[in-house]
Symmetry: C2
């Protein structure tokens, strides 16, 4: 299996979980119809509302939102990356958690967002107020590739992607809710840099427009190859982008320029 089609779903999620699930189902179906074997949803695809409500709407990984995706994955025989959901964490603030659903409904180990978006830009954000950070770097072997997890603000931390690549990742997943203010100066550069410096594919699925969180997201979801070439890029509209990944490129690029083996620090 040398060439695999994949998709990124770009959404404007609201605080209505049912509505978000219906939209996700429509786009997962579209991805399946386009012969995609893997589809990535954006960060907080299932719910975007006022951050202080996160603890209230959080679910366990085995809760209804992921169960919904498990049904879709089985129905369409497709790998579905649950961009991320607010994951119930006992009495503490929830995690921001990504999980991959296999076509048989099985789940990967959950990845809990490590770097939280605490910043004064774009109106101010304090993700850590209603979110617990994770601490574990997670990859998942899915047979024809090994995917490495990350979420949104993580993209500013190259050390995470070095670890993912060293652990064997060939495809980085970056579900995101990138702000429309930091998007133009930073999004494309950082997504492409992670691909180039680690010689990995990247599938980056972003929120877009005015979401239920009350601020504007950047859109411009991207699929990039290990040479840094942009295979597909969305505009600002909701929808899917797809691309064919030539998996031989991983070996080809790494043999020509063995960056990993040249690391000295």
């Amino acid at each position: 299996m040398d060439t695999i089609s994949v998709a990124a779903v770009q959404l404007t999620s609201s605080s209505d979980k049912k509505e978000n699930c219906q939209k996700a189902a429509r786009y997962v179906q579209k991805a399946a119809e386009a012969q995609c074997r893997l589809v990535v949803l954006p960060e907080h695809w299932e719910w975007l509302g006022p951050p202080k409500e996160k603890p209230k709407i959080a679910e366990p990984v085995e809760g209804p939102s992921i169960q919904f995706l498990q049904e879709l994955a089985k129905k369409y025989q497709i790998f579905v990356v649950s961009g991320s959901i607010a994951e119930k964490n006992g009495e503490k603030q929830p995690f921001n958690t990504s999980v991959l659903v296999h076509p048989d409904g099985g789940l990967s180990k959950p990845y809990r967002k490590i770097h939280l978006f605490d910043t004064e830009v774009a109106g101010g954000h304090k993700e850590s107020q209603f979110t617990c950070p994770g601490s574990e770097v997670v990859i998942e072997n899915i047979g024809w590739a090994t995917v490495g997890f990350s979420i949104c603000y993580d993209v500013r931390f190259p050390e995470l992607y070095r670890q993912l690549a060293s652990n064997g990742a060939g495809i980085f997943l970056i579900p995101a809710n990138f702000t429309a203010l930091t998007g133009p100066p930073h999004w494309e550069v950082l997504v492409r840099a992670r691909a180039i410096e680690n010689q990995c594919f990247v599938i980056a699925a972003d929120q877009t427009g005015m979401t239920g969180a009350g601020w504007e997201a950047h859109g411009h979801s991207m699929i990039v190859d290990p040479w840094g070439e942009v295979l597909a890029m969305a505009g600002r509209e909701e929808g899917i982008i797809t691309a064919k990944l030539d998996l031989n490129k991983l070996t080809e690029v790494r043999q020509k320029m063995p960056v990993q083996s040249h690391r000295r620090l």
Copy 2:
């Protein structure tokens, strides 16, 4: 001193050291006339010929090429970054060495290129055949800023720039001899990514066109601010680019989005 003008010199260096020195002198003078306080020359500004001749043309850091720059620095009262030279290394292969010359002629600690360009792309390069790698990360406090050294292929290794920034660098120096084949897909993305993810200025001075090394260099020297904005960018011609660095931007960007303090791996 809040705003400082700086320059990057773009050259097509040959294997004629005298000619290269004359060109460098002309552009350092231009930078001084443009009120620049610091000027960066490209990698191997002083000699670019067949790689196997490197051991023969190598000089000590205190040799004639750097002495020439010391005179220029004193004459124009300007900081001059000697992109890099082939540095004599006893009986071993030379280092690829960068050094900063102060306006009083004093020299920084030399930075010896850590990551050597051994690759099959762009006709094949095996820098390590005629070059010894360095192993030490080097910064230099020059009063109004702390600069962090790197050279060309280093730009593919984000871990180096993390160390430079952690050690206090606010301006990354990237003298380069980037190939015209890897330039279009990689150069601008990587240079901007190092600025954005570390919230540092970058001054990247590249070789351009058909140099004495016998292959085409990319040009497109760049000066970038800590938000990733491109303040100046060259085309393919020889010459200088200049930009005013608002040094307050370092604090401003880092306060708004404290990426360094968010590092968790």
